[in-house]
């Protein structure tokens, strides 16, 4: 088509493409500024991090990462000198500030909590959501429309409105500050999204496939497994990303319901206290590391995600 000299009415011209491209790049750069800021801060020293005007160029340091993973105690110079030579880079940095490393911080266990709770609840929500969506899509469910609306309506309520009742329920049930409790809670929130998204995807898969399989000697469950699931992978991946992002970033319930063993990273990171207040490089380092899993997951599934977001926009 590009070989002809005739102008297409619908194809964008070179100029409009260039303008659109520029807008996208500028917007992307503006959106990236906070991320770059956090990334830069994570490599600053604590004094540099609060310098005014902010330092654009600075001597990079991993002190923030050292502080993120350790707890430290202040000691006298005499005591520090009496110790042997510093064994690690973090040791050395800490001693320069008249401190010694007392032990590992809680960041790693909190990060692991986040991984378990986010991925666990995502798996449960997608699993339940797929089965429920299949049921709504294929069977005559009495009051299906009302049920679907009810499921969706759970998403309309601000979470904080039910925070107190849930807190009390969880205390009664012994689910406060447990990974199981958080997985159940995030599953409950996400399953409504999962049902709605997946129903759209499954509706698009012609039922002839399962019918053919059932005539060929498969039970409905086997037919579902062999024919529907492989074709729903795109939708399942897109749904999983949305669920994971929610569970991974959730702050309010995590702050309210977890304090110790089951605490996730979001309430932990802002609470990192250093000498004389917030330890901003450590907070930035925690945030930077916190971004990695979701980034990896999203990049791995980006094709599905793109198709998932634009799904239903164009009828085949």
């Amino acid at each position: 088509m590009s070989l002809t000299t005739a102008h297409s009415v619908v194809a964008p011209t070179a100029t409009s493409k260039r303008i659109a491209g520029t807008i996208v790049v500028v917007y992307a750069l503006i959106s990236m500024v906070p991320l770059l800021w956090i990334f830069a801060t994570s490599f600053k020293t604590p004094p540099d991090s609060i310098a005014y005007p902010p330092k654009i160029l600075f001597q990079p340091s991993v002190e923030g990462y050292c502080n993120l993973f350790t707890t430290r105690t202040r000691q006298t110079p005499d005591y520090i000198n009496s110790l042997g030579p510093a064994t690690t880079f973090c040791d050395e940095t800490t001693r320069k500030r008249n401190m010694v490393i007392a032990g590992p911080s809680n960041f790693l266990p909190r990060f692991v909590n986040s991984l378990i709770i986010a991925f666990g609840s995502t798996f449960c929500a997608v699993f339940l959501g797929t089965l429920a969506a299949y049921g709504f899509s294929r069977f005559k469910v009495p009051l299906a429309d009302d049920l679907l609306f009810f499921i969706l309506s759970t998403r309309m309520m601000p979470p904080i409105a039910v925070a107190i009742p849930i807190y009390l329920m969880y205390r009664e049930l012994g689910l406060s500050d447990t990974a199981l409790g958080m997985i159940l809670l995030y599953t409950a929130v996400n399953v409504s999204l999962a049902v709605w998204l997946l129903k759209g995807f499954i509706d698009e898969i012609p039922r002839e496939y399962e019918e053919a399989a059932m005539i060929d000697g498969y039970t409905r469950l086997q037919a579902f497994w062999k024919t529907v699931l492989p074709q729903a992978t795109t939708g399942i991946a897109a749904t999983a990303i949305f669920c994971l992002i929610f569970a991974w970033n959730e702050y309010a319930f995590a702050a309210l319901l977890t304090s110790g063993t089951a605490q996730t990273a979001p309430p932990f990171i802002p609470a990192i206290i250093g000498e004389g207040g917030q330890d901003w490089p450590a907070v930035a380092a925690g945030t930077t590391i916190f971004l990695v899993p979701i980034l990896v997951f999203t990049i791995l599934l980006r094709k599905q995600l793109l198709r998932g977001i634009t799904f239903g926009a164009v009828r085949k």
Binding site: G217, Y218, Q231
Partner: protein
């Protein structure tokens, strides 16, 4: 292979009866074609036999066994759908092997490979076995779909307009192939279509379905020459049968009670009018190459018939038309049998 008996089966969707009180007996090894327009209940009939729909009343026997309440998997039927027939995530080989790998059947991988190879040759797709199902042309896809039914040896093959999405040339080729395969296997087959040529060329018997009712069933010849009523007569023949009121032309000994005379091409004699008497006028002549459609006005009626490609009739010619053993229908539309 086995015989299939459908007795008094009714199935409605909401208020509308898709199939009402259907009786259909298909003999072992018989090729029955159900012919009817969209919404006549053809597909529903197939789905009822396959077990994808449950009838409200009536019984379905497959191979002498009451299958009315059996699950689809337990009925031993094979179904070729009109479209969406192949699993897009599987290769051609895996598509063909899919029915053989079902938990209900336990075939060794060796046996599966052998059977798939045989069938692939039969439907002439053996050169594409490793292709993805989505990479095939329409004709190839439909061949694989038919092949997937053929890998099994079910009691009955159910085919739902398997050729309707193909272009004319492919349809003609596959029509012949399908008939050849059916004869080779001695397969019992119920085939649904709205294409009268498919019905005429392939069927041992044709069933005419209208609004969920089986109006007539018989050999293609019977259905064509002895249609039960106006509706059946109108389903077959190209160009469609001309339905004319009595009295329009000399009535050719119409039996008493005749209201409508049905005249196909072979029921009409057309000559150029001589010495002043004419019945009608040629409207125009449609040239189709091997034959011509002749459009004629008689009084207030128009009729269409075939003529030779080298006819000397032309637009505006006044002509004389006579019936030649046409079909007679009474006021209710039923055919009055020739004496």
């Amino acid at each position: 292979m086995a015989e299939v008996h459908i007795n008094g089966v009714t199935k409605s969707f909401g208020e509308r009866a898709a199939v009402s009180n259907l009786d259909l007996h298909i003999a072992d090894g018989e090729f029955v074609v159900l012919l009817g327009p969209t919404g006549a209940g053809k597909t529903t009939t197939l789905r009822l036999i396959a077990g994808l729909e449950k009838p409200e009343t009536g019984k379905i026997h497959i191979g002498g066994r009451d299958a009315t309440d059996l699950e689809p998997a337990a009925r031993d039927t094979a179904f070729v759908f009109q479209q969406y027939s192949l699993y897009p995530h599987l290769s051609v080989f895996d598509n063909l092997a899919f029915p053989l790998r079902s938990p209900a059947r336990r075939f060794s991988e060796d046996a599966v490979r052998r059977r798939v190879g045989d069938v692939a040759k039969m439907v002439r797709i053996d050169h594409k076995l490793s292709s993805r199902a989505t990479k095939l042309s329409g004709g190839e896809m439909q061949r694989v779909a038919i092949g997937r039914a053929l890998v099994r040896k079910p009691a009955i093959y159910l085919m739902d307009e398997p050729l309707s999405s193909l272009d004319a040339k492919l349809r003609a080729d596959l029509r012949l192939e399908l008939k050849r395969i059916q004869a080779e296997l001695g397969a019992t087959m119920l085939y649904v279509t709205h294409d009268q040529i498919e019905a005429m060329t392939m069927a041992d018997r044709i069933g005419i379905l209208t609004d969920g009712v089986l109006v007539q069933i018989g050999t293609p010849k019977t259905i064509y020459t002895e249609p039960a009523n106006l509706h059946v007569a109108a389903r077959l023949g190209q160009p469609a049968i001309n339905l004319l009121p009595t009295g329009l032309l000399p009535d050719a000994d119409a039996p008493t009670g005749t209201k409508t005379i049905g005249a196909r091409t072979e029921h009409l004699t057309i000559e150029k009018a001589v010495n002043g008497h004419a019945d009608g006028t040629v409207d125009w002549v449609e040239h189709l190459g091997d034959q011509n459609h002749l459009h004629v006005t008689v009084g207030s009626k128009k009729l269409v018939t075939l003529t030779d490609p080298d006819t000397d009739l032309a637009k505006g010619d006044r002509i004389m038309i006579r019936y030649r053993a046409p079909l007679f229908f009474d006021a209710a539309g039923d055919r009055i049998a020739n004496r």
